[in-house]
């Protein structure tokens, strides 16, 4: 029971007292309970309390009854609650609005029941019961604020604090520690412990997670997370009793792309962030709710900043996309935002050296060169991290200059943007949980989109779904069948000759995921038509279920295809005289002719700057407002968390300014104006935070593909999980991770 409820109950009682005295003030008795002397009031008092103040479920929890007959009623502190059968006592209490203290229980992990903090009293039970592990039974009378329950919690807390060091002032968890909070709320005000505390050797879990194992209270959340969600068997428990320790058994690093989540999950300061260690206190930080751009998942994040620097990144709950986890790349790449930043416009002089110039001069030079180039020789490439607004501005600007050679990197030389269902994840990330057979074609979700992989892992664990994989040998953290390495296997599947075909054809909800690495292949249309044929044969695309998916690689890809960033001609980079790179660092700059004039607009000095003639500094995603569409086509916006660096400006503002200098002024001056322009092109990008499903299915409307498939095996799309774009390549932590964790 919360303090507020206690207070409100006390208030109710006192108000009843005052009204009673007012009605009978002429009696003037000297007893302390005058209302009992009034027969009417005394009669009302003897009846049970009429109706209790309404309580709301903890955290706005809602219950869903799969079967109305399975509803049972329990009483929590006298409140009747209807819950579905199979819920635990703790969940029933949450629905009733009572927050039970807990350490080991986590709603997304299996139940351990070993911390004993959630003890409550149940009527007719001889001793307090651990509510997290006890199923609620019909008619159960649960009491959460009786002296027995309080005493039990106080006793458990005393035991937990016995071996917990008193180092909160130097602990990074201080201020956001469950043990700290709950010892204040439920603990005793004094201890009786006079012996020595135990000490445990710290474990080395790698460059991301710092361990202070004396603080551990053996809740085993991290062990369960590692096995159940991350799918690695690295962590375990050693020893018994006071010798119990969490560890890796033999000294080794935690090789998981989700290892950072154990930091959030740890209720004490035993597992904390190594890069964040002793950098800041959590109450000094300003949280900004934003979206991650390092992969195409668009994980919801909170950017914690202090002054002008990003101090850390935490996940934000979004059941449809990332649940409450984020990948290590998302969590720890932020130090790349502080290194290798472009902060001033620069022009390469005749001697090949860059000279810092003013914006006016830089834009004037770019505009002049642009007018000298022929329209078909003007080429624009949007980078992996571009937001929809700036891509819209770039496309409009180049179109005004007469060129239509503009694309987004990662989409390949000839992207097919005709049907939205042909490049997004139609099943949705959350929808993957309903699948029973997965076919992964040339994609390794573990490195390409770690959160999608976690969802597949969850499905495999929950429903024993089968996973088939076609592509180069890869490391998966769940059971899978490696069907083949290239298009040959696809043909066999399409013709029904492959042994996996029986699993796929018998599946109720089959899911086929095609990797975006295939976009780079010349025969991608042929591959896609084969995949569509497989999907048709397996009945994967039907009303109510669309199991044909493309897993994109970059944050900008989906929005770029929505906006129609499709180049007019292939191989336009080779013939370009004027190349406008908007944060594009994976363009092969060696193919660019020597006499071409290259403008690099971006926030990091990564690869393309070395070929650039003019550098225009722009702001990173933590510094600007921008729309990003993730791989399932859900548009989300980033929010500026920190100020821009140096003289940098927002991408779309630079293009807008350049268009004016070049004499082809774009008709928008504000972000809302540019968004109304987007509304005419791709209105789904404006429906933020809600996914707009693709209306048409591709299977029937696609033209016949004549070309044959190339039998070359599929390639790995992401070579290094930790370093995929300019920001992550600038990050020291990501460099450490790839050095230590990718070592084979």
């Amino acid at each position: 029971m919360g303090l507020g409820q206690l207070a409100s109950r006390a208030l109710l009682r006192s108000s009843r007292l005052t009204t009673a005295t007012r009605t009978s003030h002429f009696l003037r008795t000297i007893v302390s309970t005058p209302e009992l002397h009034n027969s009417e009031v005394a009669a009302a008092q003897s009846q049970p309390e009429p109706d209790l103040p309404k309580r709301n479920p903890v955290g706005g929890a809602r219950i869903h009854f799969p079967n109305p007959d399975d509803a049972i009623e329990v009483f929590v502190d006298g409140y009747p609650v209807k819950i579905p059968k199979g819920m635990t006592v703790l969940q029933a209490c949450e629905i009733a609005g009572v927050d039970i203290p807990r350490f080991c229980y986590h709603s997304r992990l299996s139940i351990a029941g070993n911390c004993r903090m959630c003890l409550v009293e149940v009527e007719k039970s001889p001793k307090p019961v651990a509510s997290c592990a006890m199923p609620a039974l019909p008619g159960m009378k649960i009491k959460t604020d009786t002296p027995i329950a309080k005493k039990a919690r106080e006793g458990v807390m005393e035991f937990l604090l016995m071996n917990h060091p008193l180092d909160c002032p130097i602990c990074d968890q201080g201020g956001e520690c469950d043990l700290q909070d709950q010892s204040m709320a439920f603990g005793s005000d004094r201890g009786r412990f006079t012996e020595m505390k135990r000490s445990v050797v710290d474990k080395n879990l790698g460059p991301l997670v710092k361990t202070v194992m004396t603080r551990c209270i053996q809740c085993t959340r991290c062990v369960r997370f590692a096995t159940e969600v991350a799918g690695v068997q690295d962590l375990g428990i050693l020893g018994r009793g006071s010798g119990e320790e969490i560890g890796t058994y033999v000294e080794r690093l935690m090789a998981s792309e989700l290892s950072g989540n154990v930091i959030d999950i740890c209720p004490v300061g035993a597992l904390t962030s190594k890069p964040f260690a002793f950098k800041a206190r959590n109450w000094e930080l300003k949280g900004t709710e934003s979206v991650d751009v390092t992969d195409a998942v668009g994980s919801n994040i909170r950017i914690d900043s202090r002054g002008p620097e990003v101090m850390r990144i935490l996940p934000r709950l979004n059941e449809d996309i990332n649940e409450e986890w984020i990948s290590d790349k998302t969590r720890f790449f932020y130090d790349g935002l502080k290194r290798q930043r472009l902060n001033d416009p620069m022009i390469r002089g005749a001697d090949g050296r860059f000279k810092t110039v003013s914006w006016r001069d830089a834009l004037a030079v770019v505009a002049e060169v642009m007018h000298q180039a022929k329209p078909e020789e003007i080429v624009g490439v949007a980078g992996k991290l571009s937001d929809a607004e700036s891509m819209m501005a770039l496309k409009d600007f180049l179109n005004k200059m007469g060129s239509n050679n503009i694309w987004c990197e990662g989409n390949g030389p000839n992207p097919n943007a005709d049907f939205r269902s042909g490049y997004i994840m139609n099943t949705t990330i959350g929808g993957l949980e309903n699948a029973d057979v997965f076919l992964l074609v040339g994609t390794q979700p573990r490195v390409e989109a770690a959160m999608v992989n976690a969802r597949i892992k969850k499905t495999v664990r929950a429903t024993n779904a089968t996973v088939g994989y076609i592509g180069p040998a890869a490391d998966f953290n769940y059971d899978h069948q490696h069907l083949g390495t290239g298009p040959q296997t696809l043909i066999e599947l399409a013709e029904g000759r492959h042994p996996f075909w029986s699993a796929l054809s018998n599946a109720k909800n089959p899911v086929i995921i095609v990797g975006a690495g295939i976009f780079e292949r010349k025969d991608k249309d042929a591959i896609f038509s084969t995949v569509v044929a497989i999907a048709k044969n397996a009945n994967a695309v039907r009303p109510g279920w669309n199991g044909l998916n493309v897993l994109l690689l970059n944050a900008a890809q989906a929005a770029a295809l929505d906006l129609g960033l499709v180049p007019e001609s292939n191989g336009s980079v080779e013939s370009a005289k004027f190349l406008y790179l908007m944060g594009a660092d994976d363009v092969n700059v060696e193919k660019v002719p020597d006499d071409a004039f290259v403008v690099y607009q971006g926030h990091h000095g990564d690869r393309s700057v070395y070929r650039a003639n003019v550098i225009l500094p722009s702001s990173a995603f933590t510094e600007k407002e921008g729309t990003f569409a993730n791989t399932e086509g859900c548009a989300q916006t980033t929010v500026p968390a920190v100020p821009t660096v140096g003289d940098a400006r927002d991408d779309w503002k630079i293009i807008r300014a350049l268009s004016e200098v070049a004499g082809a002024q774009l008709p928008y001056d504000t972000l809302s104006a540019i968004r109304s322009r987007i509304r005419t092109v791709a209105p789904n990008l404006l429906h933020t935070d809600e996914r707009e499903p693709a209306t048409f299915s591709t299977s029937s409307l696609r033209p016949e593909i004549k070309e044959k498939m190339d039998m070359a095996p599929f390639e790995t799309a992401v070579k290094n999980f930790y370093m995929t774009d300019s920001v992550t390549r600038a990050s020291k932590i990501m460099a450490q991770c790839s050095a230590l964790l990718l070592k084979k």
Partner: protein, 157 residues
């Protein structure tokens, strides 16, 4: 008075008239003719004991006996035209103000080696380049760098 004159004549004879006048100027006797404070100090000094000289040349005198208690210690500043109380370094401040009987030379031995910094007089009104500026001030030469990012350095490609 006669002995003063005799000493003056003696030193003129020893050093020559030019050196004698320069000495007078350096000791502040010439400015004392216009500066009553300095003149009074000079008169005071007659018969007083020189307790010490600090590192910028201020002279600390004491005269016990026929001086009023609380006025028996004083300083003759090294600077003869532009002197003020902030020129007294902290180690002599205590002695001069009767806080302690230890002289500045004794207290100097207690000065912390690692973090003790040099005394600076108050330069208020002497121009922006002299006066104290806080760490974040643009005019502070040892100003802290608040840039929280590392810019990309263009190298010759």
């Amino acid at each position: 008075m006669a002995s003063v004159l005799r000493n003056a004549l003696k030193s003129i004879r020893e050093k020559g008239i030019g050196n004698f006048v320069r000495g007078l100027r350096e000791e502040g006797y010439l400015s004392a003719l216009l500066d009553g404070n300095l003149m009074q100090t000079k008169i005071h000094n007659i018969g007083a004991t020189l307790v010490g000289v600090d590192k910028i040349g201020n002279k600390y005198y004491e005269k016990l006996g026929d001086t009023q208690y609380g006025r028996h210690r004083w300083v003759e500043y090294a600077a003869k035209n532009r002197y003020n109380a902030s020129q007294v370094p902290p180690e002599w401040h205590g002695w001069l103000h009767y806080i302690t009987d230890h002289t500045g030379d004794e207290l100097l031995l207690l000065k912390p080696k690692r973090y003790g910094i040099e005394h600076k007089e108050n330069f208020s009104g002497e121009g922006d380049e002299y006066i104290y500026h806080s760490k974040g001030h643009t005019l502070n030469p040892g100003q802290r760098n608040w840039t929280r990012y590392q810019p990309w350095e263009p190298k010759k490609a």
